[in-house]
Point group: C2
Chain length 381, copies 2
């Protein structure tokens, strides 16, 4: 509990909710008649509205990206290391907007919301979303906030996919794109991990074909296993080795001792799984991992990423991390190569880190420096 | 169905079973009063009994390593590519013994066997086993077969752990050790994958705390997810990409089409999981993955692998595969370094392969050549 908030914190923040009543036509052909988005803002929008930055979140992220909701909060928002006064996404300079995506489970309309047609939770009937649908709903949020053009749109992992889609769908509405630890499309291995996680959820008998809320239950076990699978892939082998190695939590390997042995890594992973299962909606998890799998930046551009990026007008910063094997540096290099092929301005940094995919969330001097310098160079007047 | 068996096949083989009535004291302190082992043999034991080779199997392996049980079999034994007349483990020269390990589910005594104390299946009460227990039971099998010294003991993955344990526990009983795609101990990441797979099994309500056979059910869903997790880690990202990429099995990404999309990799993985779940025992899976996690070659040698291997008398061939990330080449190099430190004869081959950990089971010209030449050099007279 921070009795006094850190000096470089955005401080206490209060989420806001906007209701949208203009129907949103989705990529699947269905229409969402109305919906709400929850979001937070940090910093002040300047008079020319030229300093707005949009943060796009990844699988387990949400609108609470920085600061604290109460003085009792033990932890700040999920990207607090990078958002705040004097931090890379400097709130002394920028007006930062972070939202919970449509289909999420942290306050924006999603599978846990009430379906007006049935007066029951949407559950599995919530429309399947694509990354482009998120981008469209974010554009509507920008309209409501009076932001015509973002100074920058920033996101890691799935967030980076939204950033790239923005650059193609609304080229005139974004000046800088920051794409971190992302990919133009997932590999088969990535899809395989997602599908295994989905199977863990869907084969939990409490899943009830997605209607668990109506049955007053939750597929906690399945969701916990799904998170464990994901969590392993967000860390590097090295980081796990350094943090846990083969250290024991209890038991002994002594000969003749019949005592259950438990490694530290086992209880850590189970804790991660259980915590997640109590805080995340299973249908949202299925929906978001499907959107991840389906994303393919260049699909409608003849599978040619150079052709795709030729539609962009923004400048790009692309960042990857050396031990990230879920979104490997090679995926980022493909983005950079395509951008260069399309003659776009691109800065690329491959950051040495031992922390795998999770590195995009963690403090790292070179990452902070690259990130800060790039954003410091963005004009906001 | 091979109407005529291939010329380089060991042909039709019949498993045999041996009953052991001498109590086996296990590492956990418990005693197994009697048990049986199922095994197959290929080739002929020579008069001096100097040409015997033991095959140690990995997680999902068993005694049926080569040849066919019937002319109707669609597939031969699991290591048929490497065992047979003229193959690397040449049955014209060697007498090959392959068994199903104790605790397995293919015919040797294990959790699905009847516990004489209760007249019910052992289930979760089957004693926890260590790699050293398998080695001890294999030594008893050697006694029964009249084999004092193995010309070679050969195994991949978990099988390689058994080979190394043999070299330390019965140094005078093995002349050559072939350790393929293995490790002296698992990394935290490896344990994490195993634990996630175990959680998938144990959180299946049909697991019934391991007493599913008594309840006339099977934790098929959990076991299928466990296998899916494992299967992803046995393949390389590259191999999955080459084989499946982002190819669709059904559905379409066309805009406005609300049709479920399924990638080929998804249905392939589910098929692998379902097939395994119908052919493997969940308690065996838990038992064997625990044995994998617990194995630590040098634990009782002051955590010094050089000291550990100083007790060996055998010569070694160590093999690893370039894209194997579950048992990475680095793990094999650690084995080689320790062997060299202990001044043991060791040949090491790091094989270029795109097929990840699974490469140890698959045809590969350089692997076959290295393997064949090493075994051809073993004296059997």
């Amino acid at each position: 509990m921070p009795i006094t908030l850190p000096a470089d914190s955005v401080g206490l923040v209060t989420p806001q909710t906007i209701q949208f009543n203009e129907p949103l036509l989705l990529a699947c052909g269905k229409t969402l008649d109305n919906y709400q988005l929850i979001y937070e803002t940090y910093g002040q929008l300047n008079a020319s509205k030229s300093n707005a930055v949009l943060i796009c979140h990844a699988l387990s992220g949400h609108h609470h990206a920085a600061g604290y909701h109460t003085l009792e909060d033990r932890k700040p928002g999920w990207w607090d290391a990078y958002i705040g006064p004097g931090k890379p996404i400097d709130t002394n300079k920028f007006f930062v907007v972070a939202l919970n995506n449509l289909g999420g489970c942290h306050g924006s309309t999603g599978p846990t919301s009430i379906n007006p047609a049935t007066d029951k939770p949407w559950g599995p009937d919530f429309p399947k979303l694509r990354v482009r649908d998120w981008v469209a709903s974010q554009a509507r949020l920008a309209d409501k906030l009076g932001i015509d053009t973002w100074a920058a749109i920033i996101g890691g992992s799935l967030g980076g996919m939204q950033v790239m889609r923005w650059a193609l769908e609304y080229p005139e509405r974004v000046r800088h794109c920051v794409v971190i630890a992302s990919a133009m499309k997932l590999t088969a291995q990535n899809i395989a991990f997602n599908e295994t996680a989905r199977q863990a959820i869907m084969s939990d008998p409490n899943f009830c074909e997605g209607r668990y809320l109506e049955q007053n239950t939750l597929p906690r076990n399945g969701l916990a296993v799904a998170r464990m699978i994901g969590h392993i892939t967000y860390l590097s082998d090295y980081a796990m080795g350094e943090k846990f190695g083969r250290d024991l939590r209890k038991g002994s390997f002594e000969r003749g001792v019949d005592e259950p042995v438990e490694f530290q890594i086992e209880s850590y992973l189970r804790y991660q799984g259980d915590t997640f299962a109590n805080n995340f909606d299973a249908n949202s998890y299925l929906l978001i991992t499907k959107a991840l799998d389906y994303f393919d930046l260049a699909r409608e551009y003849n599978d040619d990423p150079v052709l795709a990026f030729s539609h962009a007008r923004a400048k790009f910063l692309v960042v990857s991390f050396s031990t990230d094997w879920r979104f490997a540096p090679e995926r980022s290099r493909e983005i950079v190569n395509a951008l260069m092929g399309a003659r776009k301005a691109v800065t690329y940094a491959e950051i040495e880190s031992n922390f795998g995919h999770d590195a995009f969330l963690l403090p790292n001097p070179r990452y902070q420096q690259v990130f800060a310098r790039y954003l410091a160079g963005i004009a906001t007047e």
